[in-house]
Symmetry: C2
Subunit: 357 residues, 2 copies
């Protein structure tokens, strides 16, 4: 037995018909007699023949494949988002051409690959980091959908969480819990969503005069030049970065009573440092808020209050954009869709009694 897949030529030979008859037998709308179709289908079944989509792709230019670009599946949020995107695309009759890229620098190379397979659209969970990459995406001349990215352009639509409002909501919770030393644990500088969350959090804190610089100065050790670096910790969206940032803060004898983290992975790391390194109990000594609602945040060791990005809504929005973009005569789309996150309250903010300021 040969290794090559069975082709329509093999089926035609066995059925004693032309190759074109095989092709017509597998096209519901084609003209072919019922007897002829039955003969072809019987031969196809015998040979385990499956019709190829490749000729149709060549004729129509439509592959029904969507390029999905991912990086960092070690963050359960992205793994779950990819799973939901794949399920939704498959349910709509699309296939997923998965492209893994380490960072935005290699995105350009990935785009060439995707274009050569004539994907119908591109969905990227990777933020577009530069104007050049955005232009390369636009130049593909197919719909592109970016999650949590700030670049919009011709053919490019973005779908983001309402990061700024969620940041303000986190500040409101700090206020209601009577937090005096709030700490913000940031994602990497290139992460636009993290910057937005910080913006909303800081604006709302300042509005409500929650930051008490005199108290912070008092709490600081002498080798710390200003309170600002304390209020703001830098992470890189990983568990380890959250653990290390909080451990370093505790080593400087600063004991925060409120922590807002740009994502749940860092929040889990920071909570472990608070407990193991600082001897601080959550929520009794410090309240913690994350972002993403990854499964681990619900684990009993963390029980983390967080913002659920509602991935199902993000994915629904992406499917709506695709449907509109593929309508006959549709123009290039450049939508900007914001999906409101849902606050998930768990034990990590259950400070009682609340001391409203």
């Amino acid at each position: 037995m040969t290794r090559r897949p069975v082709t329509s030529v093999d089926v035609a030979r066995l059925a004693g018909v032309s190759q074109s008859a095989v092709s017509r037998a597998f096209s519901p709308e084609a003209s072919i007699s019922p007897a002829m179709r039955a003969r072809v289908l019987e031969a196809a079944a015998t040979l385990n023949y499956r019709p190829s989509r490749i000729p149709a792709i060549m004729l129509s230019g439509r592959s029904l494949m969507i390029g999905v670009i991912v990086g960092g599946l070690s963050n359960p949020f992205y793994a779950s988002a990819l799973e939901q995107v794949a399920v939704s695309l498959q349910a709509s009759g699309f296939q997923v051409l998965l492209v893994h890229v380490d960072d935005a620098l290699t995105l350009d190379a990935a785009l060439n690959q995707l274009a050569s397979y004539r994907v119908d659209a591109v969905i990227t969970a990777l933020a577009i980091g530069t104007r050049d990459t955005a232009e390369a995406l636009s130049a593909l001349n197919i719909p592109a959908i970016c999650f949590n990215s700030r670049f919009v352009g011709r053919n490019i639509s973005t779908i983001t969480s309402n990061n700024r409002q969620s940041g303000a909501m986190a500040a409101k919770i700090m206020r209601e819990c009577g937090v005096r030393f709030p700490v913000w644990l940031a994602g990497p500088a290139r992460n636009a969503a993290s910057r937005e969350r910080r913006h909303g959090f800081f604006d709302a804190l300042t509005d409500h005069a929650l930051i008490d610089h005199a108290l912070i100065d008092h709490a600081l050790t002498s080798d710390t030049p200003s309170p600002h670096p304390i209020l703001e910790l830098q992470g890189n969206d990983t568990y380890e970065s959250g653990f290390n940032a909080m451990r370093d803060l505790l080593d400087r004898n600063f004991r925060p009573d409120g922590l807002f983290c740009s994502n749940d992975l860092m929040a889990c790391g920071a909570m472990d440092a608070l407990r193991d390194h600082g001897g601080l109990a959550c929520p009794k000594d410090v309240i913690v808020i994350g972002y993403d609602n990854i499964p681990q945040g619900a684990w009993h060791a963390y029980d983390l209050t967080t913002f659920d990005q509602r991935t199902e809504k993000l994915v629904d929005a992406a499917m709506d954009i695709l449907n509109d973009a593929f309508r006959p005569g549709a123009k290039a789309l450049s939508r900007k869709i914001v999906v409101a996150a849902a606050l998930v309250v768990r034990r990590s903010t259950a400070k009682a009694p609340p001391q409203v300021r």
Copy 2:
């Protein structure tokens, strides 16, 4: 501006050459004058043209696409394995056609889709549950590689962890730690890897007479008919199932001093139940061993001793099979490869002093 991608016809028109010249300009081995090639490449750059792979797929029957079948990306082990498979395939010039299936029942439908795109091979992280599915895979007439599956057949190769030996190793650790009430937390019955791990664990426990039925009988409450259901807990590979199984055991006043879990997710759940529900400290009161070495097992809240499946070795083995299968004149492969897991010792088994029996 139209929405359709730029084609070789557009490039030929702008360059003032034939479509065949455009095609030759993009084939390194084709005969074309340097001047003509430069003219085509300039026009292609102007139009942002990217050559299509589709005609080559049609002519050669080779798509350079590999169908990768996944389910349950909420288990970080599978998310990480997918990431490593994607990276390796891309590095070898392949593209990943991702297919998400909920269970083996929908695998057959997925196979038809994959065949219609003329994928060159199939890699599945999903265990093949039935002989019928194995036969459907064989009938595709392309190489298929299955992780942790027990079915082998024509065109089907399997790559598994040395589950039985690892189970025996877990028993050895229990013995060295002086465990008297060992508990096995199983994955779902359809999980062949879980059955193998149990087999190795139980065989080695029996060999070393570690199970002390008299002591277990003594520890049981009266409404428990036999010690057997206690020694063996049933989970479904999720965190929640591990938590619930252990909580139910503790509710029956059974306090294990050693726990081997078929995967890390269940181990994390069981550890949270041991601490929060049973007030048992790990490793002082109970030692815990998992399987998979997911990132969460290394988190400070767990610090879990586990078996690392060495995904990079599993993936390397898959790439070797693909390379051999695609050699000219290669016969259908049916390999069975076993990769030895690496024991990762962490605090969850750091019982001191060890009481060797």
